[in-house]
Amino acid sequence: MNTRGNDNLPSNRPPTQRDLDPHLRRYAQRTVGMTASEIRALFAVASRPEVVSLAGGMPYLPALPLDSLADELAQMVSSEGMAALQYGSAQGTAQLREQICEVMALEGVRAHADDVTVTVGSQMALDMVTRIFCDPGDVVLAEAPSYVGALTTFASYQAQVVQVAMDDDGLVPGKLEAALDALAAQGRTPKFLYTIPNFHNPAGVTMAVQRRGEVLRLCAEHRVLVVEDNPYGLLGFEGKIYPAMRASDPDNVVYLGSFSKTFAPGLRVGWALAPHAVREKLVLAAESATLCPPAFTQFVVSRYLAQHDWKGQVKIYQEVYRERRDAMLAALAQHLPPGCTWTHPTGGFYVWLTVPEGLDTKAMLPRAVTERVAYVPGTAFYADGLGSRQMRLSFCYPTSERIVEGVRRLAAVLEGELELQRTFGSVRPRTVFGPQSPSPDTA
């Protein structure tokens, strides 16, 4: 071969081997699996307005009073800028921690601001909790299915995740007990149980109140810490606020909270309420990660809580999401083929859909994107490849009209898959397992 005669190019060079990543042999073991993924690439299409995305969990920010917030923000910079733009405490500002205690009081939590650590979203709080408790190979219990962001955090610390079944009333205590006993028989004690008791992501169910006591009792008996993740607790549609598990057991529960769903996720303000000794380690871990949470966004949240009708804003969110939940449930009932079942959330953002036996929601995602509808395949919410018959549908961001259109498209995709199944029988295409989901900004 030669390139002579092509005035666009210089002459050939000697052969070279191209290793595009010269650091390949240096990476830690925990990076295994951090590769490009077909599924994640498909979510790039979901961000286009032509696609009805039922995938992302983005709060509906148009419901916020942006103009008055802008005025408040300008005033805040003028009057408090010297502190808001300066380094702050690793634990977070005292004022915000006091206000967080008032928010948690709505769920029956009596807490002292000293035990609150402000974090960069509750995701960081979860990361810190896992960092201080988990060595590689340690066991963490989680619901089946569980929040994909938690599973990726546990994986990054090389923890082994054991998932415990749920039903319409949330985590099943009998299954939890069986899992604890099975692990005990192996001489293993889980480091903690990670649970989302209210309006679960992705399952859309809520743990029955009486079960919460049973779960706390079982964990206490087995000396297993409970990590209660509660981003959606104030977003119920039936006027009911469930009591936090932390309210019943202050000594054995780490509570994770967030302003991402009740205010705005772009601020990245979350928190952990932990027993005193745990809190001390959390603060040191957080300090090594970020020095301190952003003072600026803490000041924004503080001012918002102090000067806005934030509870009224939560009610507005509840109304928006309830209307959209209703639209989704009605559309699912009207359009989906027989054999599909789904949860009926009483709050939060998500419906958990189970498709007919033999269909694979991950394998059919390309067809869905072709039909311009997107969802998150169920396998994203399991650490072990389960969930192939499930998908998570979000009703938080698209309008009701778009939700109905999205479900109509989804129904057509399912019909196509059933047609394939009639031809080939139940076959499961080879797909990569693991928590592959959209990036947070993919609606």
């Binding site: 071969m1 190019l9 191209r18 290793d19 595009l20 077909e38 286009r48």
Partner: protein, 317 residues
């Protein structure tokens, strides 16, 4: 360079949107480095309005899959008489549809693995097992299944055991209504880019040899640095080197391509070069093969594409 304004089209609605955005960003940066004014445009319902009112001096289509490679966008550019880099719509259509490209090249005597295209309806109407039995009788194993149209190895499955056939076909049908079943040829996998010089003559760049760590150059291997090793030029002897270069130039000529193309081929142990497919809008990401081929000659991406842009402007209506 000139003070031309160039619109780089990237993104779109195909399954390869993410790859296209990365190609577009890299190309845009390279073109800015050589002094061009570059605008990066996603392709949506505002495209015609933008082309009409902002009127770039030329367009480079960095779209992968769908409208960017099947000639649809090129037809719009022709209608609006906007100069663009790359093949015309008719040639795009020939190259985009893998069976059509294989058919044209096979008729011209180019070696390409035996293949059969099977729509879902054939399996449905005739019964899958009978069709699969006939397929294996005809082509044998191993087989590779591909969506007839598409790139980035999306929906592509290699089958070495007959029991894997239904799953591979169902996986492939997630990307379209038909499957291209092709005899899988073991050998050295190479990509050969072709560039046209100012005289319009297509010239092959050094072949890039691909060694996927997993043995299969799938989506993850294509777009995760480190999951494949590349050799540029490929470690082929003189005869095979000449064979793959000739194959790529033939593909470019026979399909009527223009400016740039990238042919994927495999060299079997008997040193025969087999045509697999050709791309009219080759990937330009950090892990893509055309930039590697260009760099292996000591050239740079921006200069090469700037020259192609000048050619596009010069041949404009």
């Amino acid at each position: 360079m000139t003070d031309r304004t160039v619109a780089v089209l990237a993104g779109g609605l195909s399954h390869e949107r993410d790859v296209s955005l990365r190609s577009g960003r890299r190309l845009s940066s390279a073109l800015r480095d050589v002094g061009l004014h570059v605008e990066e445009w996603d392709v949506d319902a505002t495209l015609i309005d933008r082309l009409t009112h902002r009127r770039p001096d030329a367009v480079v289509v960095a779209l992968h899959g769908g409208a960017g490679e099947n000639g649809a966008v090129q037809s719009v550019l022709e209608m609006l008489r906007v100069p663009y880099v790359g093949a015309d719509p008719r040639a795009c259509r020939r190259a985009w549809d893998k069976p059509t490209a294989k058919d044209e090249l096979a008729r011209a005597g180019v070696s390409t693995p035996d293949w059969i295209v099977l729509p879902h309806a054939t399996f449905r109407d005739l019964g899958p097992q009978d069709v699969l039995d006939a397929l294996v009788d005809r082509l044998g194993l191993p087989l590779i299944f591909k969506p007839p149209q598409g790139g980035s190895a999306l929906g592509v499955h290699v089958v070495r055991d007959a029991s894997e056939l239904p799953a591979a076909i169902v996986g492939c049908l997630a990307y379209g209504d038909s499957v291209l079943a092709e005899r899988f040829v073991e050998g050295v996998e190479v990509a050969v880019a072709v560039l046209e010089g100012s005289d319009g003559e297509p010239q092959a760049l050094p072949a890039v040899e691909i060694e996927a760590a997993s043995g299969f150059y799938d989506y993850a291997a294509r777009y995760t640095a480190g999951l494949a090793t590349f050799h540029a030029p490929a470690r082929l002897d003189a005869a095979a080197t000449a064979a793959v270069a000739e194959l790529a130039v033939n593909a470019h000529r026979l399909l009527g391509l223009r400016d740039v193309s990238r042919t994927d081929a495999v060299v079997s142990p008997d040193r025969v070069a087999h045509f697999l497919e050709v791309n009219v809008e080759p990937g330009l990401t950090e892990t893509s093969l055309l930039p590697m081929a260009i760099e292996s000659t000591g050239a740079d991406l921006g200069t090469v594409y700037a020259t192609l842009i000048e050619r596009a402007v010069a041949r404009a209506w």
